[in-house]
Amino acid sequence: MALLEATNITKIFGGLTAVNDVTLTIEKGSIVSVIGPNGAGKTTFFNILTGIYKPDKGVVLFDGAPTAGLRPDQIAALGMRRTFQNIRLFHNMTVLENALVGMHTHLHAPIWNIILRNRSLRLEEGKARDRSRELLRFVGLDEKRDELAKNLPYGDQRRLEIARALAGDPKLILLDEPTAGMNPNETVEATNLIRRLRDELGVTVVLIEHDMRLVMAISERISVLDYGTKIAEGDGAVIRANPRVIEAYLGKGAAGNPA
């Protein structure tokens, strides 16, 4: 069953067609990668899915319902969460608080309960903390829960961003270059973590990535964008053999004469 169906998505900025008639279907429980050279429109495509940009053409169906007309926070509340290419944590909040903010859509205590700090509030807060710590443990950050996010090392910040996204109990998580700037060791750890998101938590994963080893290792399906257009789609072997993909990455002529 398709969890996300983006059909004929087009987005034009001035004279530039950033995303051109892209169709993408994500099956529930899969790990899908969107790759492409810099400026291919991958992040713009993510921003359309999450509602930050409105597409000029095309329809996005999330879990069977169209997301047109919904604000980004409403789409997030439906269970579509993301991380950012350039990490966007709440720097002056603790690790635990960052995760708690991720749970915002699951907390409903009205303001008078907060002011009275009554039983139902304490119960809700207690549960939220338990759940947040569970997720921090999942990504391996529980020990550092009281540290400020800005004081975490780079790799931990990436993991915290994932934990924060998980706190919203998402059906779909969009990871925008989760291993950018990581060394090979950290990349392996990140790969394992991404796989565990799906295997242990049942979250469907879409990632934008440049690291081909990671992409080939974990994605069941790969879509390639170039100049805003989807030029190829398929599993790792298909993509590797596709001449247009090789051309997009290595330049014209590269596909014709494999060295």
Partner: protein, 448 residues
Amino acid sequence: MAKSTPQTGGTGAWDQLVGLIGRGPGGYVFLSIYTLVTSLLLLLNPRTNLFTDIVFILFLLLILAIYRTKVHVGFKIALGVITLGFVMPYFGTLNPYYIDVATQAGIFATLAMGLNVVVGFAGLLDLGYVAFYAVGAYLWSIFSTPQVGLMISGATPIPSGWFYGFILLGLTVGGVFGVLLGLPVLRLRGDYLAIVTLGFGEVIRVLAVNLDKPLNITNGAQGIKDIERPPLFFADPLRAIFSSFGRQLDNNQLYQIFFYFMVLVVVLITILIVSRLKNSRIGRAWTAIREDETAAIAQGIPLVRMKLMAFAVGASFAGAMGVIFASKQLFINPPTFDLLRSIGILTMVILGGLGNIPGVILGAVLVTLLDLQILPRIAEILRSAQKAGWPIPSAFDPTQYQRLLFGLLMILMMIFRPEGILPEDRRRQELHEEDEEIVEDAAEAEAA
């Protein structure tokens, strides 16, 4: 607003001092002696002079010392009740000037805490905050005086017993005005937001000046006088208590103590509400918006609703306090609510420590003391020195230079301590309260 704030800057000096006194019994002895000495000095020497000024400031700083020193919570509460509940009001009957300063400090502490919700928590710079204070003040002023008859012909002033209802009404109306301000500025950030809020504050003030015709609502620039005070609760028992200490109180003295306690209660309630909000889903959402709006939205935080809520909550404290202020002051006019007042409250928030509740209260108390006490006293000393033949040019009028000194202090403060006196230190978030001490001990061991 300072980008790089050291995390533990505020606590260092005090911890060192307490470290010198020693842990355990040291704190108890220190606080007891501090309380005893300052209280006795105040009660034995109640005249208004420089010496009493200094003791009074030390006495107010005692509250901070009680808050910061590591002693049993029960001991802290006991000392708080003794100092603020007994010594201060009794001293107030001996010298009405100082308890008025304390009451004003409390009023501003509440306002600063309210503004801190908007500026400190949610990061929305508001330069027109005093408008909500004005709304609350005019609300009670109009309806408790014959002014209401000029607005609605035939209407008579509301009985003074309604005062308490009007505090709640002020709270609500303040909140509504907060939303009214919030709606047009939702898309604005930073400088633009500051300018629109500044304009809003001026609009309210100018309305207060000009709404005397065609229909006389605010009585214009003349202001409203003879504002009703609430009926005194416990007047007779209060009088009896004080007369058993040998103090016969007239009505005005009783009202002073009455307002002092009322403000004290409001301050305590405000602290409770604001700190609970801060550590809730709402407070976390505000902080998230302050830190990174885009990331906050991605967590499903509805930006519009949370920003409006910050404006409404912040404004409601000002609205409620406005009612109390008008009633205490007996007279209000538009200049009371000018831009300088908004800036003054913002100064308290930033000087004390943006976002940090104890810091903001300290900022409010210090700025109030500076304004009402320290600077006028310095001017007075300079003037008498001038008269005594010191080489100060006669063209120099010290009272004119109070604001200059104030500005200088602010500049120095922002250069040397831009994060405020007590910066926000993110406290450990604990799952269970009983873990708190263990973790704290562990952290100390780690630091050592």
